[in-house]
């Protein structure tokens, strides 16, 4: 049994205009979980519940062995959090923030903090107000990483970063993972980032987790078939397949996407008199969009 850094079971939270429903999510120790969802899907609410910043109405939440929100004080000594809208004191310098965090968290590692400062190209003496968005994100990340937290929760850490800064941030995250006892949950709209560094993936849409699982297996299960359907032949409906909406019904060239790929499916099409022109893997972004769109259309057969 894998150890878990955090677990959400049947978690729900209702607001007048939005509800989070039956969220189940396990974060195994030592893993990176990518949390993908559109704006307003419930990513931040879920993250805030994990952080004890929002209290859930239903279900149970355990973080680093502590029940949330009751045990949040104990959990937070080992919990690092960075969100894109996190504010640092504008008039104060990065050095001031570092001293401040160090005074609260005994686990602060000054050597590591300084190496991150060099790596992120940040200056200790700079007041926060003079920093760019990217520099502020890196500063916030430095303040969280240098505490060497067991669980690092990042809300959109790479949003709005230039390609070089994104690369620096992702590399720093992976480096933190060299210690097997560390766990990362990060939300992102950038599926490329998630595809690169995540071990497992959770898709959230409309306040529900619509899919989650081991990344490689996930990518393995999705395929796109390009089919040549001769006139007079009916396209058989295989389990877990969705016809792409992009083509008119009855067209000869059809594209079918499946979330439960089996090599035998190709034979199934051939037996029906259909030529399989290509079987292609999908990117995480395509999978995400397909999942959300098909849920919206109720088109999953």
């Amino acid at each position: 049994m894998t150890e878990l850094a955090a677990r959400l079971e049947g978690v729900g939270k209702s607001y007048p205009h939005f509800a989070l429903n039956d969220v189940n999510l396990d974060l195994p120790t030592g893993s990176v979980t990518g949390f993908i969802g559109a704006n307003g899907a419930g990513k931040s609410t879920t993250i805030r519940i994990l952080m004890g910043l929002v209290h859930h109405d239903r279900g149970t939440v355990t973080v680093l062995g502590q029940p949330m929100p009751a045990g949040q004080a104990a959990a937070k000594s080992n919990l690092g959090f960075v969100s894109e809208d996190m504010r640092l004191y504008k008039a104060a310098t990065l050095a001031w923030h570092m001293e401040f965090v160090q005074s609260v968290f005994p686990s602060w590692d000054q050597t590591y903090a300084e190496s991150l400062m060099t790596r992120f190209d940040l200056k200790a003496a700079h007041p926060i107000k003079g920093l760019s968005h990217g520099q502020r994100v890196k500063a916030a990340l430095l303040l969280a990483l240098a505490r060497r937290p067991k669980l690092l929760i990042l809300d959109e850490p790479t949003t709005g970063l230039d390609p070089v800064a994104r690369h620096e941030v992702l590399a720093a995250l992976m480096e933190a993972l060299a210690d097997e006892s560390r766990t990362i949950l990060f939300s992102s709209q950038n599926t490329l980032d998630v595809e690169q560094i995540s071990d497992q993936i959770a898709f959230i849409d409309g306040g529900r987790i619509v899919a989650s699982g081991d990344k490689e297996r996930f990518l393995d299960q999705w395929r796109r078939f390009r089919l040549d359907v001769p006139q007079g032949t009916t396209l058989p409906v295989l389990p877990g397949t969705m016809a792409s909406a992009a083509q008119p019904h009855g067209a000869r060239l059809q594209v079918v996407v499946t979330s439960r790929f089996e090599p035998s499916m190709a034979a199934g099409y051939k037996a029906a008199g259909i030529t399989v022109q290509a079987i292609e893997p999908l990117t995480l972004e395509e999978i995400f969009v397909t999942t959300v769109m098909s849920k919206k259309a109720g088109a999953t057969r």
Partner: protein, 116 residues
């Protein structure tokens, strides 16, 4: 993505960056170095073991196989790539066919001389 990692590793083994029977980085180390998820590297190692390129033992560092099974097809592909590159560079700096052949012959001779 694991397929790309597999190809990179095979190349390293082929060119000798990762010598035969030598220890290779742990899954986690390589994940950190390449900034790629642990599960992707794990999958690549698993497939490479199945293909006989590396050997993994529980609780011990993984190693390159003593006789890694890099099918000749891989060598062919690598050779074809280098030959194409050589031809391209040759055109770029304006060398004649004979110049290129001569250089290649010299390189082969040089390699023979170096090897005991």
């Amino acid at each position: 993505m694991y397929v790309q990692i597999m190809e990179q590793i095979k190349q390293r083994v082929m060119v000798g960056d990762w010598p035969r029977s030598e220890e290779i980085p742990s899954i986690r180390q390589l994940a950190v170095t390449l900034s790629v998820s642990v599960i992707t590297i794990k999958r690549a190692y698993l497939e490479l073991e199945r293909e006989g390129v590396i050997v993994t033992q529980h609780g011990k560092p993984s190693r390159v196989a003593a006789e890694p099974d890099l099918t000749s097809r891989d060598y062919e592909a690598e050779l074809a790539h280098h030959v194409t590159e050589a031809a391209r560079l040759c055109g770029l700096i304006g060398l004649s066919h004979d110049d290129l052949s001569e250089r290649l012959r010299a390189a082969v001779d040089q390699l023979k001389k170096e090897q005991p």
